[in-house]
């Protein structure tokens, strides 16, 4: 098995005024290619902080994070941006679709930033997530489930190795939540590594492995 993510003693400290907040405290784990992992824990346990580190949106205060064997320590903003473009795809609880853009335009937005033509792969992805008939609609014309499927397609447009999802079913009803879960299973079967942050026990139990955080530490 190929190790895709390796976290060694990951620590993230924030300063809130004079108070020092240890959002993550010595977290160590490895993820293999093709894993489907849930990060769970109570609010404030450090789930989203860990997701942001894995998504190269931030760098750890100490410890080391290896993405595909490359350390994120000391990387410049542009290098982190390049890693985000090439290696990860993000899915948000609030979908994060841009209201002025159509489904197709929202989907191809990451390709615009990476300066590649993604029309063909966008068509394939739209078909995969069952949104071909909505390609010219704007987000305000879509249901929550449809918006999340578009957001997933957008996250996959640059063919990332890892899909990071922050509470992907948090704003959906149970039917749409189940549909998203099935989509994740399908993508995982196709070889995609998926990491979800969730409070949803159904989603968490449906993954292969759970990383449970408490007060910034991994629960053994």
């Amino acid at each position: 098995m190929q190790t895709l993510v390796s976290a060694q003693e990951l620590t993230k400290v924030y300063n809130r005024g004079v108070e020092e907040v240890r959002a993550l405290d010595g977290v160590t784990f490895d993820l293999q290619k093709g894993d489907f992992v849930a990060i769970t824990g109570a609010s404030g346990a450090g789930k989203t902080t860990l997701l942001h580190l894995l998504g190269c949106m931030d760098i750890p205060t100490s410890g080391e994070l290896l993405m595909n064997g490359q350390s994120t320590r000391g990387l410049s903003d542009s290098a982190l941006t390049r890693m985000r473009r090439e290696q990860v795809g993000f899915v948000f609880q609030h979908f994060g679709l841009l209201p002025t853009l159509t489904v197709m335009e929202n989907m191809t937005l990451p390709a615009l930033f990476s300066k590649r033509d993604a029309k063909e792969s966008a068509k394939e992805l739209l078909e995969k997530v069952g949104m071909t008939h909505r390609r010219n609609h704007r987000p305000n014309q879509l249901s929550g489930g449809e918006m999340q499927r578009v957001a997933i397609a957008r996250a996959l447009i640059n063919c990332p190795q890892i899909l990071l999802a922050d509470e992907p079913t948090g704003n959906l009803d149970s039917v749409n939540g189940e549909a998203i879960l099935q989509l994740f299973h399908q993508l995982n079967r196709d070889g995609l590594t998926i990491i979800v942050v969730t409070h949803n026990p159904t989603l968490a139990n449906a993954t292969q492995r759970q990383l449970v955080l408490r007060d910034g530490r991994l629960v053994p």
């Binding site: 948000f92 994060g96 335009e105």
Partner: protein, 389 residues
């Protein structure tokens, strides 16, 4: 999709706000464009008008030289006169090539329409070298030569007699018609000098003398000699190049003031655009976070916001130029009423180079105004931006 299309769509998100911001830019650019077009138009019009006059020096009765020049150029009744005897003294002055005497009077009809009569003699041909006459200059008593517009209005034919407007019981035989000059000459009725002096009861008097010099470079010497001659104290010697420079100087002073106002308006518009886009950046903080998470670099965000600002200014600039072009005629009419001296040609002369300069100015304004919001947006931390509500 392209960055420009994306920026354009963002610009249209709050249509009213964008429109108001654009309107600010449009007003400033319209003011700047009108000002520059007026400057060109006025300068060209003045130069053409003085060229058409054909003289190097205008000799007029004592009084304001600008009023006198305006009357000589556009036609009017004069409040004071030169004695015919001064003409010989002017002719005899060293350096003077030709001195053409003119007697001018204007009459007004019941509806306020103006008819300008000019008494001239053969000397006028040496001054008005560009004149093309179908027929002959008025030489015999009762002869009349018409400007092109005057002939058209009268449906005049050469050789026929017509009643002269404003002069009851007086008829004139058309001996010649002047080809169009595009100036005030087109509206005038020309008659022999003696006829004009007799009809208007000013025998032995002139309104002005048009003087051409043997060498225009000796202007200062000749003007000095004219002022020093016996009748020098009774005449006003107006070198037309100096007149042109003086009037242009007066207009330039006003233009400088108006230019400063236009510049301030442009700066205020720029600040308005900057503020609008800053507000938009604040509203879209979370979207910027999403874009950063999905692979947008700092320079991508900078480019997007900067393009949006530049688009607002360039489109505002185009609207401003179009509005200025559409309103040019009304502005010209208003300016003509306000200015003490204005040439007969177009006062507003919109040239392509002026249009181009204004659009480049608008683009430059947008480029500068976009720097702050674009910099702010690009510096947003992706995590903080995503967390923004």
């Amino acid at each position: 999709m392209t960055f420009t299309k994306f920026a354009f769509q963002n610009m249209l998100r709050r249509k009213l706000r964008t429109f108001v911001t654009m309107a600010g830019v449009a007003v400033a650019v319209a003011a700047l464009f009108s000002l520059l077009a007026f400057q060109r138009g006025y300068q060209n019009g003045m130069r053409d008008e003085l060229d058409r006059l054909g003289a190097h020096v205008l000799v007029v009765p004592k009084g304001c030289p600008y009023d006198a020049a305006s009357m000589a150029l556009h036609g009017a009744s004069w409040p004071c006169y030169l004695k015919m005897g001064y003409l010989e003294q002017v002719r005899k002055t060293q350096g003077v090539s030709v001195a053409a005497p003119v007697f001018m009077n204007a009459l007004y009809g019941a509806n306020g329409e103006q008819t300008v009569y000019l008494g001239i003699n053969d000397d006028i041909r040496a001054v008005k070298r560009a004149w093309k006459i179908e027929g002959a200059l008025p030489a015999q008593t009762g002869d009349i030569m018409l400007g092109a517009t005057a002939a058209k209005n009268l449906h005049a034919q050469r050789g026929r007699e017509y009643s002269l407007p404003g002069l009851e019981g007086v008829k004139g035989r058309v001996c010649g018609v002047l080809a169009p000059t595009q100036g005030a000459d087109d509206n005038f009725f020309y008659m022999p000098l003696a006829d004009a002096q007799r009809l208007f009861k000013r025998q032995g008097q002139l309104t002005h003398i048009l003087v051409r010099l043997q060498d225009p470079n000796s202007m200062d010497d000749v003007v000095g000699a004219l002022r020093g001659c016996e009748a020098g104290m009774e005449m006003n010697i107006v070198p037309l190049t100096h007149l042109f420079r003086t009037i242009q100087g007066m207009v330039n002073s006003t233009r400088l003031l108006l230019g400063c106002i236009a510049l301030v308006a442009l700066l205020v518009a720029g600040a308005g655009v900057s503020n609008t886009v800053l507000m938009a950046v604040t509203e879209r903080t979370r979207e910027i976070g999403v874009m950063r998470a999905t692979g947008a670099s700092m320079s991508d965000i900078f480019r997007l916001i900067w393009l949006e600002t530049a688009l607002i200014c360039v489109i505002g600039g185009v609207i401003g130029v179009v509005v200025a072009l559409a309103g040019a005629q009304s502005l010209e009419g208003w300016l003509r009423n306000q200015l003490p001296f204005s040439p007969t040609g177009a006062l507003i002369h919109p040239e392509l180079s002026v249009m181009f300069a204004c659009l480049v100015g608008a683009a430059a304004l947008g480029s500068v105004a976009g720097l702050l919001p674009a910099w702010r947006a690009s510096r947003l931390s992706p995590i903080e931006a995503i967390r923004a509500t």
